[in-house]
């Protein structure tokens, strides 16, 4: 079994969703129930593979890549099919494998207009392939392929099933992210050509795209070239995160996307950017990272405050949650920018926590939209009276989102603030302590906009418009099934953060040792 997993586990995890999608292509459009079953079944099979991976992962050796497959793919450019996971990728993959089935369950009874379960679910499955592939890839070209694969399904999801301004939002999302990716691929190619040649299986030396070998092979790149290369990757990943000021695609994409699209976008797709930083940019070019880090930290804390301020000005609930994503990812990027094990562990935890929490918030918003047909905060109110359970879940998610200790969000924020006190890599301590104070201020603003939202939406009495609306019913069965795992996980991770830290710590410590003079 272990051998089978070693050689096939990740490949299956990556491509089973695609296989499911292909099967669905053959099934006629009218057989909606069959489509749903196939989709859910496929995602559950992937989740099962995930469970097997989790149980067979060697946690003591979290720093080494496991389940590695290294096969020839494009010999001409020495790009190989290399996949593997370590302590950094594992939580991300687990998150993805959890979110997709929950999304499918959530959509079971309500697909957004124009309903077309076949196409919608196929797109979700292709997304899953792309997401898992990105997290598993250990070759730059392979990574790039999967990184781009997620763009098209999301474009269609927003553009076809979205809100009023969906065309604009979809186009903006696609082109903006692609623009970043274009710069990123140039960086990858620069890395390829400027790094040292490595021995190839089969004799000889060649440039490589292998992410495992590049840290050493790229050590000889000149500083100015490294800075430019890092800049290209910064654009590619930074737009995806999204970092201020490249975030403007996010509110539109989230607001116009259908609920499940928003959830997947917030929960996983944003993490592709930060994951790229941690997996590729930082290990391969540590010294360039040290030079870029203050700038990244600056943009991160600006994002925290700016995102919070924009949230306070919102009148649409989903747009508010979208801006809160900008603020939360600011904390993640701050953690990364400190180049310490505290910071990067916090970043990964924050990625998982944000995925669960903001995913929950978008789910609730989507349910509210479905019942009220509007997300205009001024028109909503008294949810705790009309739909007490949904109000409670919203309250719980709000508390988790503002970083309440005891829930998962805290462990994404507090260690990031802690790490900023003592940054690594020879970074300017005073500057990062200023960032630390600003980030702490950000927690106050986060509480402000979230609680204000909660007060307007959940407290008080229901507005006259909806007070007697029979469509406004409490949480339904499918919603419960979709949400309970996330809610439980938020609490469990809040009280037992070691579940994640235990996994990520070895890999992160390994990576951080590359920076000069690590802090704690």
């Amino acid at each position: 079994m272990k051998d089978f997993l070693n050689s096939w586990g990740l490949t299956l995890a990556m491509f089973v969703p695609l296989a499911g999608a292909l099967v669905m292509l053959l099934v006629p459009k009218a057989k909606e129930h069959l489509h749903k079953v196939i989709a859910l079944g496929t995602s559950l099979v992937v989740a099962l593979i995930g469970v097997l991976l989790l149980t067979n992962f060697d946690y003591d050796n979290g720093r080494t890549l496991q389940f590695v497959v290294d096969k020839s793919w494009i010999p001409f450019i020495n790009s190989r099919y290399i996949i593997g996971i370590d302590g950094i990728s594992l939580p991300m993959i687990a998150l993805t494998m959890l979110i997709v089935p929950l999304c499918i369950i959530y959509s079971w009874n309500h697909f957004p207009e124009p309903k077309n379960p076949k196409a919608f679910l196929i797109l979700i499955l292709i997304l899953e392939t792309g997401m898992i592939g990105t997290f598993c890839a250990q070759d730059l070209i392979l990574f790039f392929v999967f990184f781009e694969v997620v763009l098209l399904p999301m474009y269609f999801m927003i553009g076809v099933w979205g809100g009023d301004k969906r065309r604009y939002a979809a186009m903006k999302f696609f082109l903006y992210t692609l623009f970043g990716s274009a710069l990123m691929i140039i960086s990858f190619m620069a890395l390829y050509f400027l790094s040292d040649k490595v021995p190839v299986p089969g004799g000889g030396f060649a440039h490589t795209f292998d992410m495992r070998l590049l840290p050493m092979a790229a050590a000889g790149i000149s500083t100015s070239a490294a800075l430019w290369i890092f800049g290209g990757m910064f654009m590619g990943f930074g737009i995806k995160v999204p970092m201020f000021p490249f975030h403007t695609w996010l509110p539109d994409a989230h607001t116009q996307a259908p609920t499940v699209g928003s959830v997947i976008l917030a929960a996983v797709l944003l993490k592709l950017g930060t994951y790229g930083f941690i997996r590729i940019a930082l290990p391969i070019l540590p010294h360039a990272a040290e030079r870029w880090a203050p700038f990244i930290g600056l943009l991160a804390v600006i994002g925290i405050i700016y995102g919070a301020l924009c949230c306070l000005a919102q009148t649409d609930m989903k747009r508010l949650i979208a801006f809160s994503s900008v603020a939360h990812m600011g904390f993640v990027m701050l953690g990364i920018a400190t180049l310490t094990d505290f910071g990067i562990n916090a970043a990964i935890f924050g990625m998982v926590a944000h995925g669960l929490i903001t995913g929950m918030l978008f789910f609730v918003a989507g349910s509210a939209k479905e019942r009220f047909h509007t997300l205009d905060i001024a028109r909503l109110g008294g949810m705790l009276k009309q739909m007490p359970r949904m109000g409670w879940i919203l309250g719980f998610s709000v508390m988790a989102s503002l970083g309440l200790p005891g829930l998962a969000g805290f462990w994404g924020e507090f260690p990031a603030i802690l790490s900023a006190y003592n940054p690594g890599g020879g970074l300017n301590v005073g500057l990062f302590r200023v960032y630390m104070v600003v980030a702490a201020l950000g927690t106050v603003l986060a509480a402000a906009y979230l609680l204000w939202l909660f007060q307007r939406v959940a407290f008080g009495t229901p507005k006259e418009e909806f007070a007697h609306d029979p469509h406004v019913h409490d949480v339904s069965f499918t919603e419960y099934v979709a949400w309970v795992p996330m809610l439980v996980l938020i609490v469990v991770l809040g009280f037992f953060p070691n579940i994640i830290f235990h996994v990520t710590n070895p890999a992160v410590s390994n990576m951080v040792s590359a920076f000069t003079g690590t802090g704690s």
Binding site: H247, L309, L312, T443, A448, Q455
Partner: protein, 755 residues
């Protein structure tokens, strides 16, 4: 069975109660819900009392030798260190026993050696201590009982979670449990018929669990968790009747104001962590670092001030106290439990727990004025002044709480540790009694708290009246009730100082406030219970469920003062085993700075009692006898200006809510959003529209014109040349023949002449 290391069970019981009520309460009904809550708290109370008893036993028979060393090791987590003695023996111990305080740099290989060394030395030390400290009141070093588990690991460090039990924690356990139990019982009647009964009890349980978790925390990170959790419960309970906006506004205000202070708390936790070597959040570890010789006092100062930021908001110090009066929007039992007795003292507890950091950082032992003491003193006066202009009985009590919290902080600031903690203890009881009494009064007066609609209630509500009176006298500090002993010790502490001279300014603040406390409480008392009833209907006494807790609390207010009977009360000869019991059992002896014991000062005691009496008398004359300058604010502009200033709460609320908050969520947020949509998005959309224009240009002017032009041009050229050549086709054979012939001639010529 030793329960001291199993105290984690106490918050666990309350957490279980929370979960049970949360998931099954609605189905089980209100009676079962209340029963679950009350049963859980009762078990916790019993447990706490047993634990307290075991702690007392431990102090009376402290561990020695190997057990002592093992306890010390467990307390620190890793390296055994020589304990610090209290009193004036600090210098003596470090010089004559020749030991140095082992820092965290001790090598693991020498750990075993150090253990045996410290075993031997602490043994001898214990014996010499018990001999030489007989005069001090047997203050041997009694390490707290610490039990931890690994919580998570980052980098090379394993962070722990666990419990720390010493006198302070045991005292808090008992206090929280008693008051929580009484509030639980009281609430069955007070919230009878409330639509959210189970929700309320669920959060009461969660609050109690969080508060117990907080006081038992062994490290600052855990304290942070508990701190925020009690904040959430406060939020939920203040906004209990959330249909009305003013309740939810108050809840938001409480949470957000506390969040502002929490900024400081988080940064303070971070700073102390790094200052103490970035290896552990353990409070003993941090305290020992603070007391060690090589501590960075600047860093400690900054850390202490940041932590004090959290205290400022949570414990209602100036200027972040504004949420407390608004929090009265919640049900009265909540106000009693959370905003009088327990949650608001979390900040005071923080200072008490991390006292070494504050003591060393602020230099309490060598100054006569510093920030913490000043803020504490200023808060007492400021809060007291505001209590005079309130017509809502609960608001009077709220400002009184702010004022008393100021006393506690001031006490800790001037170095009178036991005084501050003792005041925390006594205040919990008489303030809870006052609040529950106010609830009882309101219960009878048709749920109003406006004192203008009360009056003459002493005739109708005997028990409530007597308990309220007793608690008022206790608060005012009339001998021999509890408040006298605790407040007097604080004043004596201010007068004595800690080596840097007397904290005179604080003493003055304290004495003025003593007068004010008695005066405004007298005002409240006389307006409520004397005179004629100004409301409608006939008030009647509340049921036993309400009055019995009141009686219990009042009795505590009478009796508990004697727990810390001073050693030299007017020269009376009192056996050693009966004096300063509270200090003996509660004040830490391990990782605790050398705080001088506070002597009883008869002069201060007499002055403060006279002032309190004068205050009560002044209130009597003004409000009951209606003598004095009534209507002064109508006649005198200065008086009216002062009154308006007080009525508007020093315009702080205006500043916070109308200026800062409104501007942030209004213009500032909108500006940021405008920037986002018009500048950032403007650039993006602008890039798009520029791209479109460029593409139109490229298409129309370049592609169509130039590139296609070339393509079309070639066609044109072909066509034109074709047209031109076509003219050669005349269709006339003879012409063709002529051309043919000409060509042949040329060819022939070429052939003949060239070739």
């Amino acid at each position: 069975m030793n329960l001291l290391d199993k105290v984690w069970i106490v918050p666990a019981i309350m957490a279980t109660s929370f979960l049970l009520i949360l998931f099954f309460g609605k189905r089980a009904g209100t009676k079962a819900t209340a029963a679950i809550g009350i049963a859980a708290v009762s078990i916790c109370l019993v447990f706490s009392v047993v634990v307290a008893g075991q702690w007392i036993n431990r102090v009376n028979h402290p561990p020695t030798g190997a057990a002592l060393a093992a306890d010390i090791k467990q307390a620190n987590g890793l390296t055994p260190q020589t304990p610090n003695e209290v009193g004036s023996e600090v210098n003596a111990a470090t010089t004559d026993s020749g030991e140095t305080v082992a820092t965290g740099d001790a090598q693991p290989s020498t750990e075993a050696q150090a253990t045996t060394e410290s075993q031997a030395t602490t043994e001898s030390q214990a014996t010499t201590e018990s001999q030489s400290t007989a005069a001090e009141g047997e203050h041997e070093t009694v390490p707290p009982v610490v039990r931890t588990v690994t919580w998570f690991e980052i980098g090379p460090i394993h962070f722990e979670a666990g419990t720390l039990l010493d006198g302070l924690a045991a005292m808090m356990l008992v206090t929280v449990c008693i008051i929580s139990l009484l509030v639980h019982i009281y609430s069955t009647e007070y919230l009878h018929g409330d639509e959210r009964f189970t929700h309320y009890y669920a959060f009461l349980s969660l609050f109690t669990a969080s508060m117990l978790f907080y006081v038992l925390s062994s490290n600052t990170l855990q304290m942070l968790v508990g701190w925020e959790l009690v904040g959430v419960c406060s939020f939920a309970l203040i906004g209990h009747w959330w249909e009305e906006k003013k309740n939810t506004d108050a809840a938001l205000k409480a949470f957000l104001t506390n969040r502002v202070g929490d900024m400081g708390l988080i940064i303070g936790v971070v700073i102390t962590f790094f200052a103490a070597g970035a290896t552990s959040f353990n409070v003993l570890h941090i305290n020992e670092y603070a007391l060690s010789g090589g501590a960075n006092t600047t860093l400690l100062l900054v850390g202490a001030l940041c932590l004090f930021g959290g205290v400022t908001s949570k414990s209602g110090q100036f200027p972040l106290h504004t949420w407390l009066p608004d929090a009265m929007a919640g049900p009265t039992p909540v106000s009693a439990l959370i905003h009088a007795a327990t949650m608001v003292v979390a900040g005071v507890y923080l200072i008490a727990r991390l006292y070494a950091v504050f003591f060393q950082g602020l230099g309490i032992g060598s100054s006569s004025l510093h920030y913490v003491a000043f803020i504490g003193g200023f808060t007492t006066i400021m809060g007291g002044a505001l209590a005079f202009v309130q017509t809502d009985l609960k608001k009077v009590l709220a400002y009184s709480t702010i004022s008393q919290l100021g006393y506690m902080v001031m006490a800790l600031g001037v170095g009178a540790w036991t005084a501050g903690v003792f005041h925390l203890f006594t205040h919990a009881f008489f303030k809870a009694c006052l609040f529950l009494g106010a609830g009882s009064v309101s219960h009878a007066c048709h749920h109003t708290f406006d004192m203008r609609e009360m009056g003459g209630l002493r005739k109708h509500m005997k028990v409530t009246h007597i308990t309220f009176l007793v608690a008022t006298l206790a608060l005012a500090g009339i001998v021999p009730l509890a408040g006298f002993w605790s407040k007097d010790e604080i004043l004596a502490g201010a007068a004595q100082g800690q080596g840097g001279g007397a904290y005179t300014l604080m003493l003055v603040f304290g004495l003025i406030t003593a007068f004010m406390t008695a005066a405004y409480m007298g005002r409240a008392y006389w307006m409520t219970f004397w005179g004629e009833y100004r409301g409608h209907g006939t008030p009647h006494e509340s049921p036993k469920v309400i009055t019995v807790p009141l009686a219990i609390l009042a009795s505590c207010a009478v009796v508990f003062g004697f727990l810390n009977f001073p050693t030299n009360f007017f020269g009376l000869e009192i056996p050693k085993g009966l004096t300063v019991r509270f200090e003996h059992y509660v004040q830490p002896t391990f990782a605790f700075p050398a705080v001088q014991a506070i002597d009883f000062r008869p002069v201060i005691a007499i002055i403060s009692t006279l002032l309190a009496g004068a205050g009560l008398a002044a209130a009597y004359i003004y409000y009951e006898r209606n003598k004095g300058p009534h209507g002064l604010t109508g006649r005198n502009r200065a008086a009216r200006a002062g009154y308006t200033f007080l009525e508007n709460k020093y315009y702080l609320d205006t500043l916070y809510t109308d200026i800062i908050a409104a501007d942030t969520k209004g213009p500032l947020a909108r500006a940021a959003y405008w920037f986002n949509q018009n500048v950032l998005d403007g650039i993006v959309d602008g890039a798009a529209s520029v791209s479109k224009k460029v593409s139109v240009f490229v298409y129309r002017d370049v592609d169509q014109l130039v590139v296609d032009g070339v393509v079309n041009g070639t066609g044109l050229v072909s066509e034109e040349s074709g047209q031109f050549l076509r003219r050669m086709q005349t269709g006339k054979v003879q012409q063709y023949a002529a051309i043919l012939f000409a060509g042949v001639v040329v060819l022939a010529g070429v052939l003949v002449f060239v070739v």
